[in-house]
């Protein structure tokens, strides 16, 4: 009967050794994949077709054209902090992500210097899941929307899942986040079709009212966080 214990002990040790080796050995590749995936999503938020890009293309585009910045809640750029210093904490209730360093809240920002666009991360709650994406704004006026993407969500395909569809995301391009009297006015996803020439409304997704409302709410909240930065830079 001693045999049984020796067997199970050996099995456990062999299995755990194997898994630790695999996890450690493949970790670097996996982290690289996650990083590339994030960069791809940022680039597609500003309308770049990343499918034809190789990994080194993405890396070089990123290092040549995009500055990653950290700002505080007053909208000032903090030069001594990098995005890797920030710890992300997700609020499971409303899907809001906070970026903390020493218990102080900061915000990350990607500045595309060639096309003159800034890209900010957005997140919030849909119907079933948290939605994560990026939102791009023209830095000429800090108002014109250049694009939006959602890279992670668990909404129903064909209904709420349409937030990752091209038609829905293209809706946002050219809309404004500042109203004519110069105050921040986010974009609302409305039920049905948005009126023509609407500056702050986009077509809703039929059958996905809660997901649509979620997008409206998260844009409203996340844009407000960046308002001080917009104000400082808008001229």
């Amino acid at each position: 009967m001693k045999n049984k214990y020796v067997f199970i002990l050996t099995l456990t040790i062999v299995c755990s050794l194997l898994l630790s080796l695999a996890a450690k050995g493949l970790e670097e590749r996996k982290n690289k994949n996650i990083e590339i995936d994030m960069k791809k999503n940022i680039l597609s938020a500003i309308g770049i077709d990343v499918n034809s890009f190789s990994i080194s293309d993405i890396d070089s585009y990123f290092s040549n054209n995009i500055d990653t910045l950290v700002i505080n809640l007053e909208g000032d750029v903090i030069g001594k902090l990098s995005i890797d210093d920030l710890v992300q904490v997700e609020n499971k209730q409303n899907g809001e992500v906070q970026y903390l360093y020493n218990n102080q809240e900061y915000l990350p920002l990607y500045n595309e210097t060639e096309k003159k666009v800034i890209i900010i991360p957005i997140s919030g709650k849909g119907l079933w899941s948290s939605l994560f994406g990026y939102f791009a704004v023209d830095t000429k006026d800090y108002s014109t929307v250049k694009g939006i993407t959602f890279y992670r969500h668990g909404e129903t395909p064909g209904l709420g899942g349409e937030i990752s569809a091209t038609w829905f995301q293209e809706n946002f391009i050219g809309k404004k986040i500042y109203s004519s009297n110069d105050s921040l006015q986010s974009i609302t996803v409305i039920k049905g079709k948005a009126p023509e020439n609407a500056q702050h409304q986009v077509d809703g997704i039929s059958g996905a009212t809660i997901t649509s409302n979620g997008v409206t709410a998260l844009l409203n909240r996340d844009l407000k966080r960046y308002e001080p930065y917009f104000v400082k830079n808008r001229k």
Binding site: N3, K4, F7, I8, L11, T12, C15, L18, L19, A22, A23, L26, R29, K30, N33, I34, I36, D37, T156, P157, G158
Partner: protein, 197 residues
Amino acid sequence: MKNKRTFIDPLVDNNPITIQVLGICSALAVTVKVEQALVMTLALTFVVAMSNTIISLFRKYISSSIRIIVQLTIISTLVILIDKILQAYMYEISKSLSVFVSLIITNCIVMGRADAYAMQNNVKDSFLDGLGNGLGYGMILIIVAFFRELLGFGTVLDIRILPESMNNGLMILAPGAFIILGLIIWAQRSITNYIED
């Protein structure tokens, strides 16, 4: 002759999905696109064949009182290994398969074959049995995925076949999988005159 039957049987006559109706959960979940179904097939076939082989190899040492936990340890080790490899080398696919790779652990086919077959049979037969069951499962997965992708997105392996205007959203949702799976089971059973007893 016996080897051949061990391998062929689970493909049609004793197919784990259409005859035994096992592994339905993942058959519904990962059949939206053919590519996902292919990767899932490879992953599951690898896991069943390997776990069957390993368990059969040690079947004389596995005392029956702890056999389930031993099988589970071996199966989960293999599954986690697959998951890590996918994340490192096929990141896009690992993202779209998400939790379903880890859920191979709970796929009834794997545990079922380990306990019902590998514990009693020699290594070679167990390996073939695992291979057959994995492919039998995968075959149905790919057939279902073929129709769902074709009717839902108008594409097969992302190559456009039908115009976008013919897309049927129902096929992308779970009911699409139920309907196609039901039709396949019906067709097979009426051809082979299989009656459940």
